[in-house]
Amino acid sequence: MRIKRETLLSVALVTPSIIAIAIFVYGFIGWTTRVSLSKWKGLLPDYTWVGLENFKGLFQDPRFHIDIRNTLIFTVIFVIGSLIIGLGLAILLDQKIKGEGFFRSLYLFPMAISFIVTGVVWRWLMNPATGSRMSGLNLLFDSLGLDFLISRWHTTPYWGIAFIALPAIWQMSGYTMALYLGGLRGIPVELREAAQVDGANEVQIYRNIILPLLRPITLSAMIILGHISLKVFDLIVAVAGKQLPLDVPAIYMWQVTFDGYFFGRGAAIGILLLLSVAVLIIPYLIYTLRTEAEV
């Protein structure tokens, strides 16, 4: 009898959170889906059914084509850049050097800062002005004699979005480093020693033993970084405001919904973003929880 009462009580303890998540996550996703299938355009809700019209309109919209292209370029550069820098720094820090804690904290601190602050500062670092008005990193490169690095940054035609990945890498590569460092620390020392006894050199040990063991970390990092980049929004707004060459789905969603009152289309963008994140996250959740259960 007591067991039963306790089960009820345990369910009761989590019920408020379950209800909150059920409404605010799943209920709202359902609601957004309904809006995405409606005609709603204007201040007052209009749930007239239009089927997939909003999605069709979106895929025929040149602006959305720019968004998809920009998201792809940004994601590739941001994820690969963060992984390479993160792995490189983690391997360097794993060499039992003095001051490891100091460097580790230094590389990680950008994580504590908001994308807005990062964006506002990088907006001035990536100032594209030339000649006597030159400033920011261009001015630094100029005075160091590194003229070949001088760039138009995010105002570069066609590839501007690639430069927005730079502040994003600045912010997230330290985090990637921490993930890899955790992974490196989890590799038993015996494995390395055995390889050394067998006559393997450092490079061989890393290539044949350590890097393959870090593959699950790379996967986690790719998924976490990938889902951040699909949602990127505030960083771009803070660096460059809202301008078409640097547009991404999250900015389009915000403008079309809250400035343009085209709720049907805004909801459609939200649902497409959700689907693309879900494709990454659901297999990841299942995989992680299953391996956790096996341990």
Partner: protein
């Protein structure tokens, strides 16, 4: 062989120090600009050290940002504390009192951590209007509390999972029920997990922009929205923006500097690793 590798070890510091410069550049620019006097400020001399320590920029930035900084403080503490308490209760039940269906509920809660908020934004705004919480800070707190539940639940569940089952069983033999064993056994040893979770929620609520910009009206803006607005305006000089950015970053930076170890643990929980 060994001697050679040791003598070359200092080479490692070259890339490490170069990387350190990369991470410090924005901080350097924020600080040297912030401490310059108004007459000293110029984009041409952006990289030069200030001639003395002046607070002109910070005073101007504080004048522009003060009310919004206070909005952020008023929003962040309740958001962090309430979602931590909920997370602790959920984590306790999901780690120690598994019931039928709890193994489905846990990932279903976790999924909420990853969704792009664009997919719930329209209903969220409508809902807040309906319950009269639109425009003010309580509505923003509510959003941070609810969308914070997944990460706080995850962290506490992983933490409580490391605590031996025998401890709970022993307390039950002593006549403790589910609530009293939480209160007497788990809560007193939960401090480390609370620190991790509160820091994490503090940081993410402080740094949030999306919820703030759609849910609050101008007088209730937190500092991120106000700073972005400041940066977009033509009236506020870039040097004041730099000082303002530093002020907006300072609270989470201080948390990071003094409690960084815990912050790191919070990060790792975000990667689903306990």
């Amino acid at each position: 062989m060994k001697a050679r590798s040791r003598s070359n070890k200092w080479l490692i510091y070259i890339p490490l120090i170069l990387a350190a410069f990369f991470y410090l550049i924005p901080m350097y620019v924020m600080l040297v600009t912030g401490f310059k006097g108004f007459e000293e400020v110029s984009l041409k001399t952006m990289w030069d050290l200030p001639k003395g320590i002046r607070f002109d920029n910070f005073v101007a930035a504080y004048k522009a940002l003060a009310p919004y900084l206070w909005n952020s403080f008023n929003m962040v503490f309740p958001a962090a504390i309430i979602s931590s308490i909920l997370g602790s209760l959920n984590g306790y039940v999901l780690a120690k009192w598994k019931f039928k269906g709890s193994e489905i509920i846990f990932p279903a809660i976790l999924f909420g951590m990853f969704i792009p908020y664009q997919s719930i934004l329209i209903p969220l705004v409508e809902f807040m209007r309906d319950i009269n919480l639109y425009g003010g800070l309580p509505g923003l707190v509510l959003a941070h509390v609810i969308y914070g539940i997944p990460i706080t639940t995850l962290t506490f569940r992983n933490y409580y999972a490391t605590i031996p089952k025998e401890l709970i069983e022993a307390s039950r033999i002593d006549g403790c029920g589910i609530l009293s064993s939480y209160w007497h056994i788990l809560l007193p040893i939960s401090a480390p997990a609370f620190v991790v979770v509160i820091i994490w929620q503090f940081t993410s609520a402080w740094n949030d922009f999306l919820f703030a910009v759609v849910l609050t009206s101008p007088s209730n803006w937190p500092v991120t929205v106000a700073l972005n607005n400041l940066a977009g305006s033509q009236i506020i000089a870039w040097n004041v923006q730099m000082a303002g950015s530093f002020m907006a970053a300072l609270p989470t930076l201080l948390v990071y500097i003094f409690l960084g170890r815990y912050f790191l643990r919070g990060l790792m929980a975000g990667a689903l690793k306990g």
